[in-house]
Amino acid sequence: MSNVNKKAAPDMKKRPKIDFKIIGRILSYIKGKYRVYFLIAMAGTLISAFASVYGIMFLEELIDGHIAPLVETVLGGGEADFSGLLLALVKIAGIYVVGIVGNFTCSYIMVLISQGVLKKIRDDMFFHMQTLPIKYFDTNAFGDIMSRYTNDTDTLEQMIAQSIPQIINTFLTVTIVLIAMIKTSWQLTLFMFFTIGCMLLITKYIGGKSGKYFMAQQKSFGKLDGYIEEMINGQKVVKVFNHEEVSKKEFDELNTELRENAKNANKFANILMPIMGNLGYLQYVLLACVGGALAISGAGSLTIGGIVSFLELSRSFTRPITQVSQQINSVAMALAGAGRIFNMIDEPSEVDDGYVTLVNAKYTHEGKLVETKERTGMWAWKHPHAADGTVTYTQLRGDVRLTDVDFGYVEGKPVLHDVSVFAEPGQKVAFVGATGAGKTTITNLINRFYDIADGKIRYDGININKIKKADLRRSLGIVLQETNLFTGTVRENIRYGKLDATDEEVEAAAVLANAHDFIKRLPKGYDTMLTGGGANLSQGQRQLIAIARAAVADPPVMILDEATSSIDTRTEAIVSAGMDSLMFGRTVFVIAHRLSTVQNSDVIMVLERGRIIERGNHDELIAKKGKYYQLYTGAFELE
């Protein structure tokens, strides 16, 4: 959250603006059956607005048409007959009922629409996020993305569910009221426009002030939030350095700044309503006097009932406008949030032009590789050739070759230079080197999280650019330092590697990963719920589950990226046993900064600033007395 505030801070000086393009975009979500709903809701609003205006106009009829004549009759000594009034009241009651039904229809249907639109936007956002390239996640802060699902969606929710229906309602009501007012007295209407104009000017002024302070408040809030977050996360350091007093002082400064801005923002927001409300009354008074003068002078054929109903109409005209004007700032905020959401939805998806796919395969009696429907445990790359329309099959073996690969995350800043690595099926290839040397980058390229700038990567002899990304990744297992377990049972977490794995397969994978024993000892065994990324387990146990998850997928190629780095040496013994059985018979890429993990690799690549500076097996590199030797003897810093 703090990230967002910090980032957005520079353009927060001015008051918020309404972006009509975004409104259009939101409205474009109303389609299909929702469009019909929307029309019905509009009709409901219209009916309701008509009924309420009619009700106000009825006051004129009540006073001029019924009460006044009755009073005269009685004063003239006659007998009052209330049957006419009764009839009129029954009639108006009928109209009211229609109005209420219209109102209810509208409110009810708007719920369906607004919730439907919100769900669609939310789903669009998440579904689209799934298609985004890793680059997006690497370049956008976690809090930044997260806030679109929380803050931005919240404010949008408020706006769609409340402000938009209200604005539409206001618009319709005000239009009808205006027509009714002109019908009653165009002179008074004209006069009223003058006062309304004054009111709008005041709103604009105060609203502007309030908006400005509102932005300032958000900014101070972001600053304070960032400060609190940093200090609270380092609270133990604060304690051991007796830094509490300084921290309090710095906090107080930010807190005071926030208070001042919040005070002003609230002040202007608070005074807007009484000002508008009472100006409404003043207008009412003025109208009464002017209307009275008109009625008394006989100009404009105004009656008492006419004035009374015009006065009520004028209230119905200004009240909704006041209410809507109060919401302008929050609407602008919501639109800004919606803008961020749509930005994400508009991010280009990961492109995949791969056409080589992974299929189940078997050998025929003649020794020919063919595609089959059933799961044989044997896989093949299905390679259609556009030129002659033929299809060839290549057995999935796990042979990965990088030839002269160059790559940089940002153009002009190369991270890898001329990297060549040949990994034959079953071989274990290790990468060592300092942070930033480019170890992880190489694995990012193999599974095409990023695409290489120059050179070639071939998988079983096929250029990986031709392979469908999903199939390429399916053929590569990965275990990272961050285990990233998901909320769910242990079993579900292991099954993540192969969704149709049977319970037996899951347990077999756990046995292989050396995880079975401890899982059995958990309160509910494989059905133990994991929450908070497996916070109830030790780091080593989490890693064992992650290994089992990779094992159940049974891919021919494994990438282990610092998988044991955050585990102490004792636990590592248990984990590495699991790791060893996982690696058996597979092509494995290992990245580790603890060299004991990589010693038994077939080949070790030492990376420095994106180049492979040494390669060979452990003994060869030790004998060479080069960088690896230095690293191994601890004479060189790794991190």
């Binding site: 009700g55 006073i63 009073v71 009685v74 009241l89 009211y96 209810f104 409110s107 708007m110 719920v111 919730q115 919100l118 769900k119 939310r122 789903d123 996020m129 799934q130 993305i145 997260m146 609190i228 977050e229 940093e230 996360n233 609270q235 133990k236 304690k239 051991v240 350095f241 007796n242 309090k248 807190n255 005071t256 919040a262 005070k263 609230n266 002040k267 608070n270 009484p274 003043l282 009412y284 009464a288 006097c289 009275g292 003068a293 008394i296 008492i304 999280f449 990744r473 990965i478 990272l480 961050e482 993540y496 102490d568 004792r570 003897t633 601890g634 004479a635 810093e637 790794l638 991190e639």
Partner: protein, 581 residues
């Protein structure tokens, strides 16, 4: 709970009291206006008396301006009171947190503290403002308007007696039905956010296993749930506005019907009772009364929502620090000697869950002591007892010959510097970070500390040298550099005891040795305690403590331990394996 919170209003009390008073004034004016309006209609317009019309018009305008003034000032005082109150709340919470001990800190997660200080305080601030304004205004309006209506025409006002329970009951039912569903929706939101957060953190796993579809389904399940429940709740709320309209229309029709009779009876003469002007006034009151009820229900919901936030805030304020300086505390630490006598320790203060058991140690001032042991052997716990970051459950920890519980905490910690395992640098320049050790440290002192910690050599290579900006958490320096800066920061305190908790793990062995040499030569009188994974970091120490599962397994120097201690030997050989080959 409320009482505890209200204490934080303090200097804004005057505004907090003024606000409801001003609001009451505004409400009174608001109720007065329709009444005066009836005079204007009945005696002015109806009778064609223009002079009277203007007279009453000016009176009305005056009342409006008074109402406006009340409204504006109450808005201002409410803003001052609520934001001041919120600011005091944050202040009190933050100050309280600064007094927390480590075990207090362990109780709350940092994220939860941040939420309490931000979102929760905001909720309470809004509720507070709401209470001082709307919660005062709505019932007052209701009472004023009803009594005015009764004074105008008691019989007609019976209509309100009929309608108020209908609307009130209806609103109550709506809230009662909808509120639990909203609570459920909030929980679902947490679930949804959890799915997104896990997905974001584990995006590499999701993509590697090609599980995008599955994640989509997971998300869709929750978002559908939210849709269903939210719609359900909102559909109930959809009854709000029609119910309101119904009540209003009901009033208008009944008032019109009966008022017509009364007006006919009185001959529309103000002196005889009911008039058309008063009819209008009653309709205005009807709208004021019903609106007030609506606002009341709104306030009620707001308060219920903010109650949870208030609870979370009070939790922070109520948390008592379990480590405080005693009365007549000792301010001076004589020397850097340390004694552990039969020390047991448990984080849960539970005898059956001991992390340290029967620890006895004697460390002389100026000694260098190494601590070796696997994870979970409580190395960190042991050293945390020395600057009294935690209190021993049993037994006594003595520094400079006195129990640590006798010292003033600040004085003790000034003399015992700890470089924590999970150490952090803060955003700011290198200099600013180092000055944490000594606020008024000169540039020379800073440089000297950095030379000792072998940090000077790389700091000097930065373009801005000691003014280089460090990003939050020290993200722009390497692990080894960060550790060396943290050591320098601790050295600036010129402590009598220096504790390094695995603080050189990312530093290469050569530099590590250089740092230790500097310690030996430059600060010989400081007691140095070094926790390390690498034997090489501790082998020259005067004594080495081997910890195993919370118990002292052995104490001795490198040579002795190598001879007699199996754990030590095991660790040693595993680390020497490479070099021997």
């Amino acid at each position: 709970m409320i009482k505890k919170l209200l204490k934080c209003v303090r200097e804004y009390k005057i505004y907090a009291i003024l606000t409801p008073l001003l609001v009451a004034g505004e409400a009174a004016m608001d109720v007065l206006i329709p009444y005066i309006m009836s005079k204007l209609i009945d005696n002015g317009i109806e009778k064609g008396d223009m002079a009277y019309t203007w007279k009453i018009g000016i009176l009305l305008a005056f009342v409006c301006i008074v109402a406006l003034a009340f409204g504006m000032f109450s808005g201002i005082t409410a803003a001052k009171a609520s934001t001041g109150f919120a600011s005091n709340l944050r202040h009190d919470m933050y100050y309280r947190i600064q007094n927390y001990s480590f075990s207090n800190i362990d109780k709350f997660s940092p994220a939860s503290i941040v939420t309490r200080l931000t979102t929760d305080v905001n909720n309470v601030q809004n509720a507070f403002q709401m209470i001082t304004r709307v919660a005062v205004r709505a019932p007052l309006m209701l009472i004023f308007a009803v009594s005015m209506a009764f004074s105008i025409n008691a019989k007609l006002s019976l209509v309100f007696v009929a309608v108020i329970p209908i609307l009130g009951g209806g609103l109550f039912l709506i809230i009662k039905k909808a509120h639990p569903i909203f609570e459920k929706v909030f929980k679902l939101y947490d679930k949804l956010n959890n799915v997104v957060a896990e997905n974001l953190h584990g995006i590499r796993v999701v993509k590697s296993f090609v599980r995008e579809e599955r994640e989509n389904k997971k998300f869709n399940d929750v978002s559908s749930d939210i849709y269903k429940n939210f719609s359900k709740a909102e559909k109930i709320l959809a009854f709000n506005s029609p119910l309101m309209q119904f009540s209003m229309y009901f009033c208008i029709i009944l008032i019109s019907w009966f008022a017509a009779h009364f007006i006919v009876q009185s001959g529309n003469n103000p002196d005889n009772g009911m008039t058309t002007g008063l009819l209008m006034t009653l309709i205005s009151y009807a709208s004021q009364i019903l609106m007030s009820l609506m606002m009341l229900s709104f306030v009620f919901v707001m308060i219920t929502i903010s109650r949870a936030s208030a609870g979370r805030i009070v939790e922070v304020l109520d948390e008592e620090s379990d480590i405080v300086s005693p009365e007549n505390a000792v301010n001076e630490v004589k020397d850097g000697s340390i004694v552990f006598e039969n020390v047991d320790f448990s984080y849960a203060k539970d005898k059956n869950k001991l992390c340290l058991e029967g620890v006895n140690l004697y460390i002389k001032a100026g000694e260098t002591v190494g601590i070796i042991g696997g994870t979970g052997s409580s190395k960190t716990t042991l050293v945390h007892l020395i600057p009294r970051l935690y209190d021993a459950t049993n037994g006594s920890v003595r520094v400079g010959g006195r129990d640590v519980r006798e010292y003033d905490i600040k004085s003790l910690r000034d003399e015992v510097a700890v470089v924590l395992q999970k150490n952090v640098l803060f955003s700011g320049t290198i200099k600013e970070n180092l000055r944490w050790g000594k606020e008024d440290a000169t540039d020379e002192e800073i440089k000297h500390a950095c030379v000792l910690a072998c940090a000077d050599e790389f700091v000097e290579t930065f373009p801005d040298k000691y003014d280089t900006h460090i990003e939050q958490g020290g993200a722009n320096v390497s692990g080894g550099q960060k550790q060396r800066l943290c050591i320098a920061r601790a050295l600036l305190k010129k402590p009598k005891i220096l504790i390094l908790d695995d603080s050189t793990s990312a530093v290469d062995t050569a530099t590590d040795a250089k740092i230790r040499k500097a310690f030996r030569e430059e600060i010989p009188n400081t007691t140095k305690i070094i926790i390390a994974q690498r034997i090489s970091s501790v082998q020259e120490a005067d004594k080495i403590i081997v910890l195993d599962d919370g118990k002292v397994n052995d104490v001795g120097n490198h040579k002795e331990l190598l001879e007699r201690n199996s754990i030590y030997r095991e660790v040693y050989t595993s680390q020497q394996k490479g070099a021997m080959e």
